[in-house]
């Protein structure tokens, strides 16, 4: 099995949200509440247990004569966010029940029949993707349409995307395609275009890459995401030092008390 991935090209996204709807339709994901946000046209706001795709509306003050594609200006950039299916997945490593597994497609999959709802994965995700459903307790996120991939089909979101903004395929090929696209955009004067794929952090690269313009933080993509478990050695060392210090401190306190008492005597 080859490792598959997504390449979401925000310069081609028109913000139609067909990916959100197709995802919910195929995976039978319930609604996420009927709340109007007042923030642009975005009422989904974040990825969550019941929102596995989320079209972000990165809004800047529109300037006349400068649409989203105009060099040097960004006005209303859309980008469809999704689980990154990290090379080193924080959720997977934190999961104590073995519910979260890596599939033959390289994706990270939550087995709902094994999940016990402990929520360790929720705090372990560097992107804030996975979440528990309040009425159910278990954790949910994008399955990378595991069932569709098993049947040789592309994920529902990529299938529904009308403009080719969400591409699905062989991860390595997508990586190359993303790099080529960046070069193409640079040549067209869009110097701020880049491919978001943190390979140099503990995340070890992601299987859902994003082609963005400008600062990745505007897309809720941290510049240096880290997997919490990679900090474990440091954490244990720090804990060990702390514990040792406490022991030494306690002993020292007893020793001092002892010497004090003897002095008093």
């Amino acid at each position: 099995m080859t490792t598959t991935g997504f390449l979401t090209d925000s310069t081609l996204c028109i913000g139609c949200k067909a990916c959100e709807v197709a995802c919910k339709e195929w995976n039978d994901v319930p609604d996420d509440g009927f709340l109007w946000s007042g923030l642009s046209y975005d009422n989904t706001l974040t990825l969550g247990a019941s929102s596995w795709r989320h079209v972000k509306f990165v809004e800047h003050q529109p300037r006349t004569g400068c649409g989203g594609n105009a060099p040097g200006h960004s006005t209303w950039q859309f980008s469809s966010d999704v689980c990154k299916h990290c090379g080193n997945a924080g959720c997977l490593e934190a999961c104590p029940t073995g519910s979260i597994v890596r599939t033959e497609f390289g994706s990270v999959y939550v087995q709902p029949d094994v999940c016990n709802g402990c929520g360790y994965c929720v705090v372990a995700c560097p992107f804030g993707v996975i979440d528990r459903r309040p009425d159910d307790g278990r954790a949910f996120k994008c399955t990378f349409c595991y069932d569709r991939q098993k049947a040789g089909m592309e994920p529902a979101c990529a299938k529904a995307c009308p403009t080719g903004s969400i591409l699905f395929g062989d991860l390595d090929k997508l990586q190359r395609r993303g790099e080529e696209r960046v070069e193409q955009l640079h040549a067209a004067g869009m110097d701020d275009a880049s491919l978001y794929n943190p390979t140099d952090t503990s995340v070890g690269g992601i299987h859902a890459m994003f082609l963005i313009r400008g600062d990745s933080r505007a897309y809720n993509l941290p510049p240096k995401p880290e997997v919490p478990t990679t900090l474990l050695p440091r954490a244990w060392t720090a804990a060990g030092i702390g514990a040792a210090a406490m022991v030494i401190g306690s002993l020292a306190a007893f020793a001092m008390c002892g010497s004090g008492r003897s002095a008093k005597r």
């Binding site: 139609c16 609604d31 989904t44 004569g65 400068c66 649409g67 594609n69 080719g164």
Partner: protein, 829 residues
């Protein structure tokens, strides 16, 4: 679509969405294509990505389309003709027009009558205005030397006719042999008259009226016109942002004139893409749900002395001696044979007298006002939700209370089905029938580019839900069974109604037609002697041996083999114009259809929209009439002179050329024609329950415009009831600029009240720079944008935006003005 119909000959988009990918520039105006046609928008993006085509979006609101465009120009709602008029003026003044195309392929050189007087000299009116009747007599608009009003009114100018019949009525005019001046120097030739007419539409005027800075206008005018000519083509996309104005048809006319001048019609990457708002709106004018036409744009007979007579009188009145409409007799007779079968005989005029006659304005608004006045007993509402989706919803809901019975067929219990719960004094008996959705029944949609696509049934409809077809077949059977021997029931008795239950295939075969001797290939085989029958001549060809609407094997550049585009699977209309008069392509880059001397026929990437064997140098044989009377270099084959009409001599009720008028409600004076504020020929239908703000009106200082969002579908009946869609836009909001918000003391998210002369509604304020305030005529103009999807039923609810709108009628198509009105905004205390 008389804007396109009168200019080019057919009331349909001249191109296909896929062909937008071949454009060098695309102007999107009166449409948020990315928002409302996201799937088709992929080809706009392809043009941008593939060849660096510049995308220009002109719209009051920065929306999803603007975000993808290279240029976004915000304009004041209702000022589109000034923008387009200035584009025309720019094209002429800077010599950007395509001379080699314009002279042979348009009526630019045709000389007009001496007694025509333009708006310039009549304070904003064209000659022929009758202030008593409030309508034009278009006689002075005719070509010089054309036979004047021969008998009665000119085709298309009847006061009872709506616009859609006029897609062809202009063509029925006998234009005789007008004089032409191919040097274009004659002061009364169309070119010179037009040049003078548009001289007033300057970049300065655009700044003054539209609120677009002159230099920004010049920048995009330069880009668009430079992307046209032998080597390049540019396309225009529009939707109801143009049509829903009191000057809607003339706005589309202005775009059509511009595209003719630039030589962009009939060529790859060119054309005008009329984007339709529902799955089969094109289909519903082709096989009409309209009151004034019969299938295939045949006009409905009038109830008056001149046309209520026999079939011969109808044919005489509506058939053109030259051009394709010469065949009208074959089409009407074949239609009557399809309706009445064996009962239609030459002796009884094929049952022509059984056809209903138009006795007045029975357009949509005409009958709703009649209903409000208690003149209607019953109403069928199918696939529509007028209680929410139509203007002046208050009046429409009140009108429903005056009925004895109402039948609503829909997928869900719409607000129209439940209106009675909120009305006092309502005795209307309401019957609700569950309907099958598009996946629960078979049949065709005719899409925005005239393409029929067959849908197969995927699942059985739930419960007692059933298709429209099955419902209508049974209703017809029940009515026929109850037909009495009275004369008034003669049409019902004669009606051929031998349908099997729910067999859409059978209906499509009837539409395609047949002959007494067997199958026919297409409408070219129809006869006027009763030996053939055909349900809609323009669709004939769709069932040539097999159901071509069901085909899913696309091949070639235009995807022939996928579905079937009328007429005869031609994807780009008037594509003869993609070749020069001598039959060779204008350029290698833009070739589409050309004359193949070796084969002695037209060929290329598309099916030629031209008689295949007609040589480019054919001189036309008038003695034979019809298509054979047209020359080999006449691409607009529906027109009696074979050319595109920069000037519409007959067929439009508000002028031969577009002229700017302010919306029916506007706080600004008409800067172009100060003496004529609004379109004189439009019908305000003013009455106490359909009141108007005066112009200007201090009570309603802001401009109101309405639109749709990607997340919902029209009245919301199909989207507010589905959680996956409803959660994406769960509440009604009004987009206002930060400036306006400050002026009325409102913060983002506050509940505001929006009022017009008709009603007051509540919405949340979405304060955004995407809805900018503009400088117009020395004032700061604030615009308020409202999506109109909300109503009282469903998972998410909200006030009915259409309650704010007035019922009004554009003179040609009788559509309301929904895109430019006046309103007030207050904070809810």
């Amino acid at each position: 679509m008389p804007g396109l119909g009168t200019t080019f000959g057919r009331g349909g988009a001249t191109t296909a969405q896929q062909d937008l990918a071949n454009a060098d520039a695309i102007l999107i105006m009166g449409s948020s294509m990315a928002e409302n046609h996201p799937v088709g928008f992929q080809w706009v993006i392809e043009a941008r990505e593939k060849s660096g085509a510049k995308i220009i979006h002109v719209d009051p609101r920065f929306n999803r389309t603007s975000a993808m465009a290279d240029y976004w120009l915000p304009l004041r709602a209702g000022s589109d003709i000034v923008f387009l008029g200035a584009m025309i003026n720019y094209t002429l003044a800077n010599d950007r027009w395509f001379r080699d195309y314009v002279i042979p392929y348009t009526n630019a050189s045709t000389i007009l009558r001496e007694d025509f007087v333009d708006t310039e000299d009549l304070g904003g009116l064209f000659s022929g205005w009758d202030p008593e009747k409030k309508q034009y007599d278009s006689e002075t608009w005719l070509y010089d030397g054309a036979s004047a009003k021969s008998e009665g009114t000119q085709p298309g100018m009847h006061e009872n006719s709506g616009g859609h019949g006029k897609d062809r009525s202009g063509e029925a005019q006998n234009l005789d042999h007008p004089r032409r001046d191919e040097t274009l120097q004659h002061p009364r030739c169309v070119f010179q008259v037009m040049k003078r007419h548009f001289a007033r539409y300057t970049p300065r005027m655009v700044e003054e009226v539209c609120g677009i800075p002159a230099e920004r206008f010049i920048e995009v005018a330069d880009i668009f016109t430079a992307a046209s000519g032998r080597e390049k083509t540019a396309a225009i996309c529009y939707a109801v942002g143009w049509t829903q104005h009191s000057t809607g048809v003339q706005t589309i006319r202005a775009a059509a004139i511009l595209q003719l001048l630039l030589g962009n019609i009939g060529r790859p990457g060119g054309g005008i893409m009329a984007l339709r708002g529902h799955a089969s709106i094109q289909g519903s004018t082709d096989i009409p749900t309209l009151y004034d036409i019969l299938p295939g744009y045949l006009p409905m007979p009038m109830h008056d002395a001149e046309s209520a007579g026999d079939l011969a009188a109808y044919i005489k009145k509506n058939r053109s001696p030259k051009g394709w409409w010469y065949n009208l007799d074959k089409y009407i007779v074949s239609l009557l044979k399809a309706y009445y079968g064996d009962a239609a005989t030459p002796e009884n005029d094929f049952g022509f007298e059984w056809l209903p006659r138009l006795t007045g304005d029975h357009s949509y608004f005409g009958y709703w006002l009649d209903m409000a006045d208690g003149a209607l007993e019953g109403l069928f509402v199918m696939g529509q939700n007028p209680a929410v989706g139509s203007p002046n919803g208050k009046l429409e809901r009140k009108a429903l209370t005056k009925l004895k019975w109402l039948v609503v067929r829909d997928l869900v219990e719409t607000e129209t089905a439940t209106f009675w719960k909120k009305e006092e004094d309502c005795d209307t008996e309401v019957f609700f029938f569950p309907a099958a959705s598009h996946v629960e029944k078979a049949g065709t949609f005719t899409n925005t580019q005239r393409m029929l696509q067959w849908r197969e049934q995927a699942v059985e409809p739930p419960g007692e839900a059933r298709s429209e077809l099955s419902f209508m077949i049974e209703l017809g059977k029940m009515m026929k069974a109850r037909a009495t021997e009275l004369n008034r029931d003669a049409p019902l008795r004669a009606l051929a109604w031998d349908y099997a239950d729910d067999d859409a295939d059978q209906v499509l075969r009837e539409i395609h037609g047949k002959s007494r001797d067997g199958a026919i290939k297409h409408f070219g085989e129809l006869k006027n002697d009763g030996s053939t029958s055909c349900g809609c001549w323009i669709y004939s060809g769709v069932y040539d041996g097999e159901n071509k609407a069901l085909k899913r094997e696309p091949r070639g550049r235009y995807g022939h083999g996928w579905g079937y585009a009328w007429p005869l699977d031609r994807r780009i209309l008037y594509n003869r114009a993609s070749a020069a008069p001598d039959g060779t392509p204008w350029s290698e880059r833009k070739k589409l259809v050309w004359w193949d001397e070796a084969k002695g026929e037209w060929g290329g990437d598309d099916i030629p929209d031209f008689t295949r064997g007609k040589r480019p140098d054919f001189a036309g044989d008038e003695s034979r009439g019809g298509d054979e009377a047209l020359r080999g270099d006449a691409p607009f084959i529906m027109h009696p002179d074979g050319v595109g009409w920069l000037w519409v001599a007959s067929g439009l009720k508000d002028g031969p050329l577009p002229s700017h008028y302010e919306p029916l409600e506007s706080n600004l004076p008409n800067a172009v024609h100060p003496r004529q504020q609004s379109n004189p020929a439009s019908n305000r239908m003013e009455r106490p329950d359909n009141a108007y703000a005066s112009s200007p009106d201090a009570r309603f200082p802001y401009v109101l415009t309405t639109y749709r969002l990607t997340e919902h579908h029209t009245s919301g009946a199909m989207s507010r009831t589905l959680s996956h869609l409803a959660e994406l836009q769960p509440e009604l909001f009004a987009e206002i600029s930060p400036e306006l918000a400050k002026e009325v003391g409102v913060a983002n998210g506050d509940v505001i009240k929006i009022s017009s002369a008709r009603a007051e509604i509540e919405a949340r304020a979405l304060v955004t720079g995407r809805m900018p305030s503009l400088d117009v005529q020395g004032r700061r103009v604030h615009q308020v944008g409202l999506p109109y999807h909300f109503g009282g039923n469903g998972l998410v609810t909200g006030d009915v935006v259409n309650d704010l709108l007035a019922i009004s009628e554009e003179p040609n198509v009788r559509i309301m003005e929904a895109k430019a009105l006046t309103c007030d905004v207050r904070r809810k205390c």
